[in-house]
Every structure is written in structure tokens, then in C-alpha cells.
Amino acid sequence: MEKSPFKEGDVIFYQEGKNLFIWFTKYPLTEKNKVYIPEAYLIVKNAKENNSIILIEKEKSFSILVVKKGNLVSQITYRKKPTDIDNRIVLLAKEYSLKDYRVIKNPSYPLKWDLRDIIKFSNFEFSRENVLQWLLSNMAIPLSVFFIGLSAYKILDYRYLKMKKSSLENYLIQLKQENRDIKKKIRIAQEKKEFWENFIKKELKYPPAYPVLAIISNIIYKNDGFIESINYSKEMTTAIVGLPKKRKNIIQEFLNTGFFRDVKIVSVTRDRLSKDYEILNMEFYMKEIQDIKRKKENEQ
């Protein structure tokens, strides 16, 4: 800054290899912009010339840029355009040993820049203090806003849900009142249905006596037999019957009726009254009515 021609100005610099480039500004740079890139740097970058002298004439200034092997080696800025500009160009070319150089007047290249240029002219210094300071100055308010917003959202959400719950409760009460009569009827119907299902399951689980006895006696008589006695009960019926010694497979005949789960001959004894007959002690195990119905439905 001591070498700056301006008292209150600022400095922009960057280093490339052994070359240090410094721009002194007339006025202090504002903190508003974090990175300042000199116009001359961008003009040279965009010109892509090997050796050249670039003249930039503006309303209140006139600049001469010297480019050697693609690099900016000098920038001289005057308030007005010098009258002996041609002599100065020749002197600059000699000073910087430029050979085969081009003179370019007021180039109108689009001044493109990229991230590398920003990094080149940035002066970041990372330290814990700086980071904390930066965080405090830049993140404290957004974080505060975030936490206050989050708190407000939670409180408002809670109130909204409470209101919603209350309105749903009221609606449910209204619906329940509207459905009260039909629900009472549903309850009564359900009770009756359950009563009868239970009753049938317990009391009418097996086929009634008349068809069971009719089936047993029909088969016995059909096979030239006779019945001594029958004891019917719901699940099992026992019978003492007389059948000819020469007989078919009578058990299969009983099972084919579909009424019996199983039929057993418990004992066989000689008939004292007829030598051609035997006395059989038989057990008939009943199927449940619903199984008999299901079988009939399947057969249909």
C-alpha cells in the first residue's frame, strides 16, 4: 500500500509463477463484493493473443496492456489518450522485447470468467476464529429465523391438530347419533344369529334319529338280516344285528350312504337259533350334519 499512488485506495493482486501482479485502486473496495477481478486481466484472457499491445480507450481513461507469450506483463492507464501514442508503443515493445506483436484497439471480446478466476483473486484465510466469526455474522440470524419458524410451526401445527380432533369428535358424535337405531338393530340381529348358530352347533350337530335308524334297518333287512336291538345317541349308535354267514361287505354299504364317519364290528357270535346266521355287535360313528351337507353339495 506504501507504493500505491493513491492515498485512500486499495490493492488487488494475484501471483502466477514468479510474477506478482498488483493493481492499485483509487478508492477503497467495498465489502459488498467479495471478489474483484481486474478488467485488464479478463481482456487479456479472452483475447488469447501471444504477443500484443492492447489499447483501451474510455471516456475518462486510456489504458495500454502489454501481452507477452499470452501473459499480461504491464498495464499503464492515463487520464487522457497520450498524443505520442505510437512512440510509447514502440518504447514498450522494446522494453519488453516483443517481437511480431499486434496492436489491438478497443477489443470487444465478451468478458467471460470462471471459478478458477474467482479463486485466483480471492483471498480466503481459514482459521477457527474466522470461521466462527463468519458463522456468527452470517448464520446467526438465519438460524434464529429457522428455530423461531420451527417453534411457530410446531405450536401452530399442534393447535391445528387439536381443532381438527375436536371437529372430528363432533362429527363422530353426530354420526353415532344418526346410526344409533341401526346399530341397536345390528346388535340384536347379531345376538340372535349367534344364539342360533350356537344352538345348532350344540344340539343339532348330528343327524336326527329317524333317518339314521331308517338307513341302518334298510341295509340290514336288504341283506336278509334282522335287528336285535339298537341304542341311538347323537355321536354313536350301537346295534346288535343278525346277518347271514355268507354276506357281502356290509360296512362299505353303510359308509357309502355318507352318514357315517366309521362303522365297526365289535364282536361276532354264533346265532343260537339259526346255524346260517351270526350275531354282530356293531358301532356306527356319525358324521356332523355340515359335513354331510358339504359332501352332498360337492357331489351336485
Binding site: 466469526q133 456468527l136 455474522s137 446467526a140 440470524i141 438460524l143 434464529s144 429465523v145 428455530f147 423461531i148 420451527l150 417453534s151 411457530a152 410446531k154 405450536i155 401445527d157 399442534y158 391438530l161 387439536k162 381438527k164 380432533k165 372430528l168 369428535e169 362429527y171 363422530l172 354420526l175 353415532k176 344418526e178 346410526n179 341401526i182 346399530k183 338393530k185 345390528i186 340384536i188 340381529a189 340372535k192 344369529k193 344364539f195 342360533w196 350356537n198 344352538f199 350344540k202 344340539e203 343339532l204 336326527p208 334319529a209 329317524y210 335308524l213 334282522f226 335287528i227 336285535e228 336291538s229 339298537i230 341304542n231 341311538y232 345317541s233 347323537k234
Partner: protein, 183 residues
Amino acid sequence: MSNKKLLVLLLSVAFYVMYASSYSEKIDTLKEQILYLNMKIQKEESIKANRKKILSEIDKVLKVAEKNEKLLYSPDQNNSEIQGSIQMFLKKTASDSMATFINAAWNEPLEDEKAGYVSLPITASIKGTPDAMAFFLKNLYKSEKLLNIKTLDIGKIRPIFVYYSITVAGYKPLKKEKKHGEK
């Protein structure tokens, strides 16, 4: 300036941690309650929307139940009264079937509180020809009330007469105790 910002940040964080975060649990509870309420509302709305259909189904069930109930004795009838009428019916049926009613024993009524009915069994002894006994069995089903044959012992068919020992049961529903506040 930084101190002020820091103070604001600390206050806002403290407010969130100490006060606002306690709402998270309350919000979760409310959400669960709302979900449960919505399920209940959905059920009630479905009942309301299908009112006609449900009423018609109820009507069908009640008609069947009413028809079935006629097969049971009245809950207001006394047990002895019912067993007496079953005995009378057995006697009359035996007589109509040309069989002889010998005697009857009233068994202990069986009360099934859970199922809601009482079973009233009677064991009777009847004598008759095989044909008369077959008629007797058939005619039992002509009873206006349900008479369920529990056991049936038939003895000696080779002679002309047959003996029946038959246990039949009639049923009556248990009287419903009115719940508190029920009309």
C-alpha cells in the same frame, strides 16, 4: 452486533428446546388420536352409506330367528309346565301311532347360561309293534315345538312287540336380564 445476533440465536434455540420441542410428543399423540377417530368415522360412514342394505340383511336374519324361536318354548313358561306338555305330547303321539305309552321320567333341566337356553329332557318307555314304533318316531317330528331325540334304545325286535326307551328334549331360551339403562 455479533453479540446481539448470538443472543438472538441462543434465545431462539432455548425457546425451541425448552418449550416448542415439547409439542412434538403432543403432536404425535394427536396424530394417533386423529387416525383412530378417522377409522371410527369411516366405519360409521360405511354404516350410514349402506343403511338400506344393512336393514334388509337385518330383516332377513330377524325373520329366520323369529321363525326358529317359534320352535322353542316361551321363556316365561315354567320348566315343569314344559316337561308336562312334552310328556302329554309323547303320550298322545304313542296313542295316535297305535303304541302304548308305559311311563316317563323327567330328567333334570340343563341350563346353559352362556348359550342362553335351557334343555328340558324327558325319558319315556313305549311299547308297540315295529310298524307302530316307526309311526311313533315319524309323528314325533310333527310337534309344533322342537323335540330333539337325545337317545333311543330299541329292544328285541324279533318278538311281535318292541320296547323303546326314548329321551327327548324340548328347549326354552333363558330370560334376558335387562342391562342397566336399557329400555
